[in-house]
Symmetry: C2
Subunit: 331 residues, 2 copies
Amino acid sequence: MPRIDTADDELLSIRAAELYYDEDKTQDEVGAILGLTRWKVGRLLAAARENGYIRIEIVHPRARKLALERQLRERHGLTDAVVVPVAGARSESELRERVAQGAADYLAALRPVPRMLGISWGRTLHDVATLLGEQWAVGVDVVQVNGGVSVNQRAGTAAATAVEIARKASGEATLLPSPAILERVETKTSIENDRTVAAVLDEAAAAAAYLFSAGPATHSSAHIQSGYLTTGEMDELVRRGAVGDVWGRYINAEGMIVDPALDQRTLGLGLTSLQHASTAILVVSGESKHAVTRAIVRNGLCTALVTDEATALDLLTDTFGDDPDDKDNND
Amino acid sequence: MPRIDTADDELLSIRAAELYYDEDKTQDEVGAILGLTRWKVGRLLAAARENGYIRIEIVHPRARKLALERQLRERHGLTDAVVVPVAGARSESELRERVAQGAADYLAALRPVPRMLGISWGRTLHDVATLLGEQWAVGVDVVQVNGGVSVNQRAGTAAATAVEIARKASGEATLLPSPAILERVETKTSIENDRTVAAVLDEAAAAAAYLFSAGPATHSSAHIQSGYLTTGEMDELVRRGAVGDVWGRYINAEGMIVDPALDQRTLGLGLTSLQHASTAILVVSGESKHAVTRAIVRNGLCTALVTDEATALDLLTDTFGDDPDDKDNND
DNA sequence: GCCCTATTTGCTCATATGAGCACTCAGGGG
DNA sequence: CCCCTGAGTGCTCATATGAGCAAATAGGGC
């Protein structure tokens, strides 16, 4: 192969990088090949890295994007963030599993270990329950914070999620025996005031930590599939600015309840519990949930976030949501 | 951020890699964070690399794929190969320019410098001419090896290519004043025997090196655009096994002339000149030319290849084209 | 033409890293 | 029950690398 002897340092730095990184040569050897001293080679390589020509990627489903995590913590005031890569994920569900795995790892490593964990339900949380290791903790009790699915074939999933998380931590699961959304406010109020239900809600309100996901305001919402909402009602919610739901409560981009009447018929803890929680872990993945994630994170409805790279980037790229005089975002 | 303390070494190696490669920590620091000795960290990183979890990529339009180049040389007996990355190329023409740049760099670095360079014509070679630096060599004469385009608005491109390459090397350009394909054999023979034309062909046959591209056997061929062939004739060539043309001569996958009668009407050097050349540099890019490239490379019609990553991979992935008892192809 | 300055180059030295080796320890067979 | 084996661990030492500094060099103003 003919030697390349260009005066151009940039090109030379690429040639050096090829030999150093791709061919595993030492800087000395690279120097011998290109006719340079080994110090010059070192400087060329430094320049190549400086210019961003060298990309090092960790390809593993359980890899994390620490730089994005740091930016999320700094720019959105989060206590913790876990960001998993999208590269190589072939489907939405594969991505969801990666995120769920990240959440399971995070939960198992969470200190102090919460005595009581409040959880919602959904496919994401169900995955988290499945992926949690046996004995991920010892003596963690679990309580549901909102009404469960009970109308269609997915009935039981909500309960199973809570039970499995508790079982794997040798703790007790407390279920909330109620629909998610009632047809009439009166029904909701009377259930809420029922002694057993009220006791569960009291327990939930006292939880040391919350683990929850969010739903999109689209026709694929679990609330529509479960029959709690019609597609028409969903369209109306969207028209009024809804971006998604948290604990069954539909919010707009400002994190405010979109439809107070509907919210009155929704059973479970209110969002103020989330706002005041010392540990509120949001687990969310997929493009359809970018908007609702933004609403949650930007309005302080979570203290920790477990998500995918694309969602993290979405949170970081929009400018108008941050303080204009915020810190610079280059790491 | 909570510490992760898994027994699983694989996961641990990913955590270590994140801190070492993404966060620029030393192995010592990584060890302190993960609660490991620095030797353990070194071993975990080695394992991560071993397992292919660390991908290092050089992102630059002029970067080269040395590993692929080596495999091409070894498996196809080439003297030289230049492979440029496709990553980041947004169009066929951008890719063609990258390859042309690679060819220009290669040509400028070629030793010994050929006294006489035989060239064909086409968009790719025109790009090479444009991208060659002024004074890329001194005293290199250029000669056309096959009849030029002269029918449509691209008239003059072929001549311009030769002239520019020669000018930038302070050499003379010798043009072949003739159409590429004649209607009747008799016309072709008489032109060929014309004193001036014969002299050019003699010069071309004596060239120290050839620089050429190839065309696909499709309706987008330059021969159709220039009016030398009709789409019907092309379809017939394809039916008879044509994969593309070299110097205006259509060949099949075995590198044989598809239509001897047509070939008789094609003016310029024959492919035997290419076969016996000590330096024959093929410059080719794009998916439409994979088949013809394969035919050329597998049948010894070039000694050096300048191409893109995708074409190189195409040449390397088909199994039945190589000696079954060839060397192993892991690098 | 000369000198002054800014940049580049070659070096010394401290540090980071990988190879190789001795040691430990768990588990299984005699 | 004890020894034996083999994986895994911690270490020593040689090598590779980056920081910092002095010498050289280029370029520009006077």
